[in-house]
Symmetry: C2
């Protein structure tokens, strides 16, 4: 049985193909999300990678912010909260807290026995999200991919006291004007994000194991800053960016089984 999970986010589209609900056959990521050709291209890519066609798929499930744009293509739509819980539990069976930092939102999920029992979400504010990092990288004139490396070279602890993207941007501009080393500023930015996200984590209640997912989890500077703030180890994997899509593909497998019986 082959199933497809598609996560249509605000800034990226991700796809996972699963065999028999346990083996990841293929994955794809296109760096544009809802309202673009991204979801379609992600599907084409995941099929091509596996040498399969849409007809070979037994069940397709869409999740994420833009999941409703895939009506007619997906057999079912499902909330990203459920899919994130499912995906994280598959990757890390001992997970109890999932911190997902996406391009435009932050979600913290509490998980018991693989199911979500509580959550907190910040989806109306750019503070602490991938967008925050985008804004800062632009002001600092560095590539977003270089933030992790640069922050690791920081030697002086400086404070970015605002968590608001707009006010933090002003702080960064004034630090630059004062001649502060960019690497120290970047480390400060990572701590600012961590501070914001930690607030959300504490509202849900921190229970290990803690898993971090979403695009920002690829930046280990943020992960480390958050570990420091939470005094707790945080697990990530290169697959965590695909966490929502993976959960969708797992739910798709359940859908395929039900469908086969009916």
């Amino acid at each position: 049985i082959y199933t497809l999970g598609i996560d249509v986010g605000s800034t990226a589209s991700k796809c996972i193909m699963l065999k028999d609900g346990k083996e990841i056959v293929s994955k794809s990521l296109v760096s544009v999300g809802t309202g673009t050709s991204g979801p379609q291209r992600a599907i084409e890519e995941v099929l091509k990678n596996a040498g399969k066609t849409r007809e070979d798929m037994d069940y397709t499930l869409a999740t994420g912010y833009g999941r409703n744009s895939l009506e007619g293509i997906a057999d079912k739509q499902m909330s990203e909260l459920s899919c994130h819980a499912k995906g994280a539990f598959f990757l890390f069976p001992k997970v109890h807290t999932v911190i997902d930092i996406g391009g435009q939102d932050v979600k913290v999920l509490k998980i018991e026995n693989g199911a979500m029992v509580n959550f907190q979400m910040n989806d109306k504010c750019a503070a602490g999200t991938g967008r925050f990092l985008d804004v800062m990288a632009r002001v600092l004139e560095v590539n977003i991919e270089d933030l992790e490396k640069l922050s690791a070279e920081s030697t002086k602890r400086i404070g970015i006291s605002s968590t608001c993207t707009v006010f933090a941007e002003s702080e960064v501009i004034s630090q630059l004007a004062q001649g502060t080393d960019k690497r120290d500023i970047i480390a400060g930015i990572h701590r600012a994000i961590a501070g914001r996200v930690a607030g959300l984590v504490h509202r849900v209640g921190l229970v290990p194991d803690v898993v971090m997912t979403g695009g920002v989890a690829q930046n280990h500077g943020v992960v480390k800053a958050l570990e420091e703030q939470l005094s707790c180890e945080i697990k990530t994997s290169p697959l965590t960016q695909y966490n929502g899509a993976l959960g969708a593909a797992l739910f798709a497998y359940q859908g395929a089984l039900k469908h086969a019986k009916a």
Copy 2:
């Protein structure tokens, strides 16, 4: 008796000189605030306007975000909340609600018999503040002073659904890309600010008369949008920008009287 009130804000410095605690002799406004020469220049200007010297002043009181930078110059410092309540009550004796939108914060004060009994403040988020308007004016390439006039010419109601400055900026950029008339976008921006501020007002509880103060009160496009949202008349005056400084000068008068007795 001559007293001086100085309001050192985040983006402007304002000064009021009072005679006998009731007559405004002179006022000044310099468009830079704390950490600059603005406060000093505002004081020099208010004295020059009145043909007075610092020695003629019986008592000087400082308020606002940067009030502590005036130690040595002011006889006393006082919180801007108290000064705003005092100033608004002097200008509008029937006031029960003061909405102050500053360059970097929004405050809503509930007033009974001229004293503040409750308040709500948003000082960690640029949404709904003067900064929000600055960001939008920059993206739209219009002068901040022209926003009111332009919004009055709007003919089509468009929605800016985000109140977050960062996300609203993206909406404005995409509206511009779609060719939407700038005047309609500006009216939408004013409604977005009004929506944010109205939320804060409702948390305090709306009791007329409602007075709006601070720099943004000079933009009647915002005032009208807020009147619409609150279904309630809002009073302003050209003096409301000096509201904090006025309150400070009034408290300075009390200080001078006490001082004279002692």
